[in-house]
């Protein structure tokens, strides 16, 4: 009986369940739109995410590889521009994920600590993980997945006693601006498609149900968070930042509280994993076999961005812009893989 590793199939699931936590950190569920409308926005947003996965799935099914590998093989002259695009994009993704995390951490959990210090410690750990490579990070993802399940279980069951359906509404009422904002916001997990487009070649045991399961998992989680924010926290939540953090803070089992520590732990590990994967993608695009220097350089740039964001609101607003993220994601997750879809023939490698 051969031993088969299913963890590679789980990779996307893990990434999505990890990033969903981060995305919810700075998500404000608006009270002007009902729960049903928010739910529909979320489903449409995730639908877009599913569409952005299609080009890399197509490449994977045809060649068993990813567009970065194909570009290195068939268009070596384009390596530099592609590496530059990837570097810019993944620096943006890493900053987009890191900034709300450090803000939440320093505002809610350890007040008084400087965000750049938190960022520095986290980035130092990410350098180590990125040096180990994508496969090792995805193995780490297995533990993160189990921890995410456990934390979510605590988070949601701990809030059941606070649930009051009169706090919100299931009716179909919506505010046009809110709906558009929510839709754009729920499209942001598409950056996972870009990561997937770069490293899909590492997963030799690909199956189509992989991204579908991932999206389903994320949808269920988003829905549960919105449900509890709407019906457990109610109007209290609308006046607060970082609603999912507050959800974890209000969760309790009798006298047992402190579930926000689990939430922070999950967020920390999720950010750690996503930034490490982003660094790995950047390095893969350069094609260097000994990537120590590149990884340190990219991390330093990221740290400088964190520092700048601490002092400049404009810079911070730039790196927290969903529109820019989606635009760049469209280029890396859709345009570039589509350009390589017909390259490499229809033979399946590996």
């Amino acid at each position: 009986m051969e031993v088969k590793y299913s963890s590679r199939r789980l990779m996307l699931t893990l990434m999505l369940c990890a990033c969903s936590v981060i995305l919810l950190q700075n998500r404000q569920v608006s009270p002007r739109s009902s729960f049903t409308v928010n739910l529909l926005c979320m489903l449409s947003g995730l639908g877009v995410c599913a569409l952005t996965l299609l080009p890399s799935i197509l490449i994977m099914r045809r060649t068993g590889s990813d567009f970065l590998t194909l570009s290195a093989r068939y268009t070596p002259k384009l390596r530099l521009p592609i590496a530059v695009i990837c570097a810019v994009y993944f620096e943006y993704v890493a900053a987009y994920v890191l900034l709300p995390y450090t803000d939440m951490f320093c505002e809610k959990y350890y007040p008084g600590v400087r965000p750049c210090l938190v960022g520095l410690c986290l980035l130092a750990a990410c350098i180590y993980a990125a040096l180990k490579g994508v496969r090792i990070i995805t193995r780490f993802g297995v533990f993160l997945f189990v921890f995410a399940l456990f934390t979510n279980l605590l988070l949601f069951t701990g809030n059941i006693s606070l649930t009051d359906l009169s706090n919100g509404s299931f009716a179909f009422s919506a505010d046009r601006d809110d709906v558009f904002g929510a839709f754009i916001y729920f499209c942001t997990p598409a950056f996972v498609s870009a990561i997937y487009a770069c490293i899909a070649g590492e997963t030799h045991s690909f199956h189509f149900r992989q991204p579908l399961l991932s999206l389903l998992f994320t949808a269920v989680k988003f829905a549960l968070v919105m449900f509890f924010v709407t019906f457990s926290l109610g109007s209290y939540a609308t006046r607060q930042d970082y609603q999912s953090f507050i959800l974890s803070r209000t969760a309790h089992f009798g006298s047992f509280a402190g579930i926000e520590s689990f939430f922070i732990a999950l967020s920390t590990m999720s950010v750690f994993m996503i930034i490490s994967l982003a660094l790995s993608c950047m390095v893969k695009s350069t094609g260097k076999k000994r990537p120590m220097l590149e990884i340190v350089m990219y991390t330093l740039i990221l740290f400088v961005i964190t520092l700048l964001c601490e002092f400049s609101r404009t810079v911070k607003a730039f790196f927290s812009n969903e529109g820019i993220l989606l635009g760049l994601t469209f280029v890396v997750a859709v345009c570039l893989p589509l350009a390589y879809c017909r390259t490499g023939g229809i033979r399946r490698e590996n």
Binding site: V3, Y5, Y128, I136, R139, F140, S261, I264, T268, M269
Partner: protein, 499 residues
């Protein structure tokens, strides 16, 4: 009369084509007239006045066996007109009663045989010699291994002589598939080691890797298996956890061999090294397979829980007491705060101090004679424990936390070294950065563990990379009906396949 005329010409290499007298001088020179080298000259009953010698190292041979198998039959036999070569053949084929005899001709082999307890018969004028197995040195008998005690199952553990250990394995696997492959390591100690594997279970790739790594060992002396374990570890992977398993039990080793692993026995070491080693194996005990399934599974889960407590509990205590006291339930919070307020040291140095004192006491307990062990226990328990708490030097809650972690660390005793190091690292991290720091260090440690390999097989295999098929013997132990049906062998892992 010593027949010096039978001297033959010397040939190239290290072949021994010299007279017995010269051989004696040469050996005495090589051994610097060592007192334990015995060179008994013998005159054989023969018309040609054959002359020879029996060479041994005192203390390594059984005198009775030497007399019965070598001296008595050889001296009593009439060699008539035999030439030295014919006489040697006669000794080899009919005269001596020993079944362990080998013919050889090199100096290297001569040294190896006599230092291994063989008696070597050399005849003047004959280029070859005979080694007769008459080993009879004193060694510790087979006894129950102290570090792997079982409730049910065999009470037999490895002992120092290599051949005895080999026989213990052969007795359990009566199958020609079981192969023992001998190698020699240590340029000075010339230590014999034995590779053991099941021919049809082992991965050829892994076997080649093991042989190559052992050949690469350039140590002058190898006195224990620990010398070689580092050579069997994969390069550029974390050394915190060991990728080489150690067992003193022949039944455990046999079990591992049937799973396709390779065991390395080292002469003079009462334990076998087993490769590849996976993290989940550290939680599997031989008792698990004797007990009922539900109980074995329960014990497995207890072991995993103990591992987490041993590593994280003191650090968690530091983080909660120093950074997040609000997470503690009120009664515990009040008592802990009250207890800590009476001690002079902050919580992190206090926990570190007790941890170090405990490690010192443990080391002292291991090294001192058993008769003094009770005294150390009393001093440790009463003076360091109760008196220090009463004097207000350390708090009772801290002592309890460290003691609980210490007890838990013995549940998975093979992991004791990494547990101890990780505990100290986490205590310091918790004291500096609280729970968040612990999470970050945990992530780094997990990455390091996931990156570790043992002969190329991921150390964390079964968990990460996750494999559902192997889960039946990880957190729970499935019934023998299921385990016995499909043994999951190491060669079934993708990393053990030739590229």
């Amino acid at each position: 009369m010593h027949n010096m005329e039978y001297l033959t010409q010397t040939v190239t290499g290290d072949l021994m084509l010299i007279s017995v007298t010269e051989l004696k001088e040469r050996l005495n020179s090589m051994f610097s007239n060592s007192a334990d080298l015995s060179f008994k000259e013998i005159n054989l009953k023969s018309r040609r006045h054959l002359y020879g010698a029996v060479i041994t190292v005192e203390g390594l041979c059984s005198k009775d066996e030497l007399a019965q198998s070598v001296l008595n039959p050889v001296l009593a036999h009439d060699f008539c007109d035999d030439t030295p070569k014919q006489a040697l053949n006669a000794i080899l084929n009919s005269v001596s009663g020993s079944c362990d005899m080998t013919e050889f001709s090199s100096e290297k082999e001569l040294i190896s045989y006599i230092t291994s307890g063989f008696a070597v018969i050399a005849l003047d004028g004959c280029e070859k010699m005979i080694a007769v197995g008459v080993q009879g040195y004193a060694y510790r008998g087979v006894s129950e291994p102290e570090s792997e005690v079982v409730q049910r199952g065999v009470r037999e553990g490895f002992t120092e002589p290599l051949r005895v250990n080999m026989s213990m394995l052969r007795r359990r696997i009566k199958n020609p598939d079981l192969v023992f492959e001998q190698m020699t390591v240590g340029s000075q100690s010339r230590t014999q080691i034995m590779l053991c594997y099941l021919q049809h279970c082992v991965s050829p790739l892994l076997l080649r890797k093991v042989k190559e790594r052992l050949k690469d060992c350039d140590l002058p002396t190898v006195f224990a298996s620990g010398y070689l374990s580092e050579y069997l570890e994969d390069e550029k992977t974390s050394r915190l956890f060991s990728g080489v398993g150690i067992s003193e039990r022949p039944d455990t080793v046999c079990g591992k061999l049937t799973e396709g692993r390779i065991a390395v026995l080292v002469d003079g070491t009462p334990a076998a090294m087993i490769v590849p080693r996976l993290f989940v194996e550290e939680f599997q005990g031989i008792d698990d397979y004797s007990n009922r399934t539900y109980y074995a599974s329960f014990i497995r889960l207890i072991k995993y829980l103990s591992f987490f407590i041993a590593v994280f509990l003191p650090a968690l205590y530091v983080a909660l007491a120093q950074f997040h006291p609000e997470y503690l339930p009120e009664p515990i919070l009040i008592k802990t705060a009250e207890s800590l307020s009476r001690t002079p040291l902050p919580v992190m140095p206090e926990v570190l101090l007790i941890t170090f004192v405990y490690e010192m006491m443990k080391e002292a307990g291991l090294r001192i004679p058993k008769s003094l062990g009770h005294a150390v226990s009393i001093v440790g328990g009463l003076v360091v424990g109760e008196s220090a708490v009463n004097a207000g030097i350390i708090s009772a809650s801290t002592l309890m936390v460290v003691a609980t972690a210490a007890i838990c660390s013995y549940v998975t005793s093979p992991l004791y070294p990494p547990i101890t190091m990780l505990r100290v690292i986490f205590i310091i991290t918790a004291g500096v950065a609280g729970l968040w720091g612990m999470v970050l260090v945990t992530a780094v440690v997990l990455i390091s563990m996931c990156a570790k390999t043992s002969l190329g097989v991921p150390y964390m295999a079964s968990l990460a990379p996750f494999s559902l098929r192997t889960m039946r013997d990880v957190f729970i132990r499935a019934s023998w009906k299921k385990l016995g049906k499909h043994t999951i062998r190491v060669q079934k892992f993708p990393e053990t396949k030739e590229a």
